[in-house]
Symmetry: C2
Subunit: 442 residues, 2 copies
């Protein structure tokens, strides 16, 4: 029987879950893998707290070096936060020949290139199933299950906090602030929800999926990211009238040697399977050239779902170690094309658009807007102009102000931005135009 | 660079897809796996046909022995039909040290124990991702991604033909025969659809998932299987009124050392993610003790989706061979508990029931039925008694005949069967009672 010793760094919600699963599932994991996985030591900065899964004293490390210098420990499970500290930690662990399992999406999205390059040189494996979509085994699906596919498109609902908020806004007509407050009260949003709300967390995750699918690293700072902070209930309502559900969608599409990666509020047709993913659940839709559309759905966060993913990587790597897998063959990296990915420029996005103009209720407005659209080759698919003034619209200079919603056919982002600029320059509108992208076949 | 030679036996729809994918994706597979996978030979009984993916002459084998006796061929891909021929083929291949990839669910469900036992003795791997749910990587998810979970429950929509028919009946009010005919015209049902319609195909697949999840083989002949042949549109309609969608559900649940495996038409609440799986799509919902509920959705059949799964196994095994993985560690079998699974007896099923009694429209009937239910400790959750006689009900002996639908709380199959027997013995009903099981939390 082979025994593999594991050390954990960071003992928060996920760390406690991983320790619990490793201890309570020891027999099951042995039966299923043929390897005995032993949690040897855990390091956290402060042991003077109450932990949901308390550890015996002999497993509590008082310094990081206790783990790094322990030659028995073959796998370091990195469950700290941030980027710089875990980056240094991983480097040290890799130098000592230890394999890595991590749930740190920020690190992989922003420093993946550096860390995988060091790991490859040393023949070290990095498991990161838990970094994207919690318990859903999407990394394994892309790396192995769908290996025979060219990935055409990935659509992900990758952030439970924003999906909970948007579901609440859609189903109960709540405004953003109220929905956020409720999410915080229920523990579905953190006290500082910035990285969730502004789309950064979802962007970290789609960056990882894009790298894995298209075989190279990308410049995270160049990804187009838009959060849900400014979403108004009126647009959710009007979208519903058009048959759409609003989701914070993380998108990756490959075409012509480029990868289009973007995260933004997106209208999806209500019969799209992703439209039915409610609350804190995550889902990833993958379109492969052979497999067609497939979807993976489950809990995207939380102690035990995330631990489930972390432990699956520990098992995987433990089996490799026990089997003595040759280093030259094992492809651990996301970098299988051995080149950096080029991101499609924002101005080259092609998609459909929902545009809400705020205009005076006078004749001829639609004609003016339509004229500008024609000039920029933007084709109109649907128009909603409400006779009844919606309450948010005040009378301005004794004119009635109304929303004018236009749904376009596929257009380029560049043309849309230019058209809106010209419409605003002509002072046809009296407020900033609301732009929401629409993913819908036509 | 390692090169692995592959032989295919059977050149039908899936075989053509596999050959196409292996040839067209050769570079991609090499980049992602580090192994060159070479389709060396294909055997089929009759080469005098037109094939969707024609092969060059040098790849056409004229006898099975050309593959079996070729020492270069490391993997045999079995894509024939039936049970006996592929069983003999696999035995011969295993004896010659060749690994196996198969899409043959009937064989694995009915002869899995024998074939895995021979394979284990010889250190041979068997890949069967394609045997369940086509392109959806559910085998890998259960074996690896969810390895850290005790599997509590699996619900599968595992047969596209029946799901297409039921979707058509639900959405368009079609009767079974019409819906079947339309499915045949569109190529979604075979000329002889028996094994799909009567639930056998779904049962083969859930038997495999149950073995993998609970770690032992089971007696396929003891699985409770009910098909969709007798489903009447009236029940779909009445179920809809109660908020349910009818699916042919394949169920596996583990409890108290037993596994409950059953395949039958099942009412699911309309907000269950599986209720929204329409048409020929497949989906598997897995509940694990750590991961919670997760769902896997995609195309369950067809040439390229199935080929996607077959090739993922070829890659997996090729990597293992190239890496020289130690035979003693690799757990290839579904038999990780090393014991046979005990199936829960049908009389011990506990679930909710939809019962449609056909009764004369006279006072006191409900009271009589309720009295029998009380005697057998069956608790009633809802009743639908229609004033308006539904057209299928004829006048009988000048009495009006009506449907009386009762939805129960959780009850034992045994009590339900006894209650129905007593009700029928008392001649309260005038036709055979319709029983549809309901999977719904309470």
């Amino acid at each position: 029987m082979k025994k593999i010793d594991v050390g954990i760094v960071g003992y928060g919600v996920v760390g406690n879950g991983v320790a619990k699963v490793l201890e309570e599932k020891k027999d099951l994991l042995y039966k299923k893998s043929g390897v005995e996985i032993n949690l040897k030591k855990v390091f956290t900065r402060n042991w003077n707290k109450k932990f949901p899964y308390p550890l015996p004293e002999e497993k509590k490390a008082q310094s990081l070096d206790e783990l790094l210098n322990d030659d028995d420990i073959a796998i370091i499970v990195e469950l700290t936060g941030g980027v710089d500290f875990p980056y240094q930690l991983m480097k040290s662990a890799i130098e000592r020949g230890k394999h890595i399992v991590t749930a740190n999406k920020a690190l992989l999205a922003e420093k993946g290139k550096e860390i995988f390059s060091i790991a490859e040189d040393k023949g070290i494996r990095i498991g990161y199933e838990a970094a994207v979509a919690g318990g859903i085994p999407i990394i394994r699906a892309l790396r192995e299950g769908l290996v025979a596919n060219k990935i055409l498109k990935i659509y992900g609902i990758l952030n439970g906090t924003t999906n909970y908020i948007l579901t609440n806004m859609y189903k109960k007509g709540k405004d953003f602030k109220t929905a956020l407050k409720e999410a915080q009260e229920l523990g579905y949003a953190e006290a500082d929800p910035t990285l969730d709300i502004n789309g950064t967390d979802a962007a970290h995750k789609i960056a990882i999926l894009a790298s894995l699918s298209y075989g190279g690293f990308l410049d995270f700072s160049q990804i187009y990211i838009e959060g849900i902070e400014s979403i108004h209930p009126l647009d959710i309502e009007l979208g519903k009238e058009l048959g759409y559900v609003l989701k914070l969608l993380a998108i990756a599409k490959g075409h012509n040697g480029e990868v289009e990666v973007r995260v933004h509020p997106t209208f999806l047709p209500e019969d799209n399977p992703l439209s039915k993913v409610d609350g804190v659940f995550n889902a990833v839709m993958v379109e492969g050239d052979n497999v067609g559309e497939s979807m993976f759905y489950g809990e995207g966060a939380g102690s035990l779902p995330t631990a489930s993913a972390v432990v699956s990587d520990i098992v995987d790597i433990s089996k490799s170690i026990a089997e003595g897998v040759g280093r030259e063959i094992e492809i651990t990296s996301m970098n299988w094309e051995h080149k950096d990915l080029s991101l499609t420029r924002v101005s080259d996005f092609y998609t459909r658009y929902y545009l809400r103009f705020t205009v005076p209720d006078v004749t001829g407005i639609l004609a003016k807007v339509a004229a500008v659209f024609a000039k920029f080759n933007i084709s109109i698919a649907a128009v909603i102009q409400k006779e009844k003034v919606v309450s948010m619209y005040r009378e301005k200079n004794s004119e009635k102000i109304i929303p004018l919603v236009i749904l376009t056919h596929t257009a380029s982002e560049n043309n849309i931005q230019q058209a809106i600029k010209e419409i605003e320059n002509q002072e046809i509108t009296v407020e900033k135009t609301v732009i929401i992208r629409v993913e819908d076949e036509e």
